[in-house]
């Protein structure tokens, strides 16, 4: 099958590459351009570990083809921080509230939380649980993840 040229902006950098049509966006990120912060956890679009923002909205990057991202902008967990030590408030909150254990779900969880907070800057506990419905965590029991998102809302000025 012929490779197709695509131009995708990832975390602010434009990548012009040729990919096989069957290349998943997550494999393009990890294997073609070395952005390994985004991980794969399932084959069924259930786990959300691969969540990134595509043109500002959360998507599961295992369920989007790289060719479908042609001409669009992707933000991964690696593009959130401003410089080395200035973490995004959601990252800061996950660290502060111990919102992770093994960390495997964390890249997707953080990106889903970023999307959730831009939709709803002051979510209730129930809205947080529903908003993160597409992201599975096998370690934490979700409790500290919810607390992290609440704290992130506060850091971002949404929480009243």
């Amino acid at each position: 099958m012929t490779h197709i040229p695509i131009s995708v902006t990832v975390d602010g950098t434009v990548y012009d590459v040729e990919v096989e049509p069957r290349r998943l966006l997550v494999h393009f990120l990890r294997e073609d351009i070395g952005r390994v912060g985004t991980v794969v956890g399932c084959d069924t679009s259930n786990c959300g570990a691969c969540t990134v923002l595509l043109d500002g909205k959360s998507v599961k990057s295992c369920s989007v083809l790289a060719v479908q991202a042609d001409g669009h902008a992707v933000l991964t967990v690696q593009g959130l921080a401003e410089g080395e030590h200035k973490w995004h408030p959601v990252q800061e909150a996950f660290k502060e509230c111990h919102g992770l254990q093994c960390g495997y779900c964390t890249p997707g969880m953080v990106m889903a939380a970023v999307d959730l907070l831009q939709e709803n800057p002051n979510p209730s506990e129930e809205e947080i649980r529903e908003g993160l419905e597409g992201n599975l965590c096998r370690c934490t029991g979700y409790h500290n993840i919810v607390k992290s998102v609440e704290y992130a809302a506060e850091l971002m000025g949404g929480k009243s």
């Binding site: 099958m1 012929t2 197709i4 096989e20 049509p21 069957r22 998943l24 494999h27 084959d43 069924t44 679009s45 259930n46 959300g48 969540t51 595509l54 909205k57 959360s58 998507v59 599961k60 295992c62 369920s63 989007v64 083809l65 060719v67 479908q68 889903a112 999307d115 959730l116 939709e119 908003g131 419905e133 597409g134 992201n135 599975l136």
Partner: protein, 285 residues
């Protein structure tokens, strides 16, 4: 897993897409949001030789007012549908049900047209389309035709679309004054499909239900209208007792399956309970 290799084309118009599909032959496949198709490809349960990506066709996007109905582009995402002001005003049942589909990330990409064309018996939106008497607008090599929702869902994962046809838009009739609606979905875990779902639309005049529409999700190979419930509700008092009596007929004529989520018997039980809840909620009692 990694999907089996395929060719990929991204047409800019519906006509180009139809030609591309015809050129691809019988192993060509349409992809829109990909939220049902991508898992299928990754599990290698399908191996199309060509994917025709209709996702960027502008004429299939958007939601417009067509007078007595809304025209919802097949490419409208679940996220767009649930947040659209016209849908919220004239087809709140559709907005509500779209908000119960999967999870936020899937709703950002999955489309209304894709959901209907996929014809999954557990899909929420086919049931809503049936309850609202929606009309599908399909285009193929022989031109455009309209298919009523009641004729569109044929069998498990089978719609009335021909292999070379594309679902372009859906006409959703506006519910007029006096109507109110509710979608009641029963599932046990996050982002899960409906074990059973019920779409109800009720027209009330003072204390009486003058007309009702009830459609069921996952109670057979395709969504079904609970006609005996509808008949029992027409002219009934808008009371809990009358609604419960009508809802007792909800499993009539259904053919639910048993699977790992529920037995057929439990589904029949759910259909009655959820119908009662959905109608009561819609009727405001």
């Amino acid at each position: 897993m990694i999907p089996i290799a395929f060719d990929y084309v991204r047409p800019g118009t519906v006509d180009e897409a139809i030609s591309a599909l015809a050129a691809a032959g019988e192993d060509g496949k349409v992809i829109s949001g990909g939220q049902s198709l991508m898992p299928v490809l990754r599990l290698r349960m399908a191996a199309p030789t060509t994917l025709v990506d209709i996702g960027s066709i502008a004429e299939m996007k958007g939601i417009t007012d067509g007078g007595d109905h809304l025209v919802v582009g097949a490419n409208a995402t679940h996220y767009e549908v649930m947040n659209d002001a016209l849908v919220k005003q004239h087809a709140p049942l559709l907005a509500q049900a779209a908000g119960t589909v999967a999870d936020p990330a899937i709703r950002h990409r999955g489309t209304f047209g894709g959901s209907l064309a996929h014809a999954d018996p557990a899909g929420d939106l086919p049931t809503v389309a049936l309850a609202l008497d929606a009309t599908m607008v399909a285009k193929g090599p022989n031109g455009t035709r309209e298919i009523a929702a009641k004729d569109f869902f044929v069998d498990y994962f089978t719609s009335a679309l021909e292999p070379e046809e594309i679902l372009v838009a859906v006409k959703v009739p506006k519910l007029g004054d006096g109507w109110s609606t509710h979608y009641e979905k029963f599932n046990r875990t996050a982002q899960a499909w409906a074990t059973v779902g019920v779409a109800a639309a009720v027209k009330r005049q003072n204390g009486t239900i003058t007309e009702a529409r009830v459609a069921l999700t996952n109670m057979g190979p395709s969504p079904v209208r609970a006609s005996s419930v509808e008949a029992a509700l027409a002219g009934a008092a808008a009371t809990t007792d009358a609604i419960a009596a009508a809802a007792a007929n909800a499993a009539d004529g259904t053919r639910p399956t048993s699977d790992l989520h529920a037995s057929a018997e439990f589904r029949e039980h759910l259909a009655k309970v959820l119908t009662k809840r959905a109608v009561a909620q819609a009727a405001g009692v």
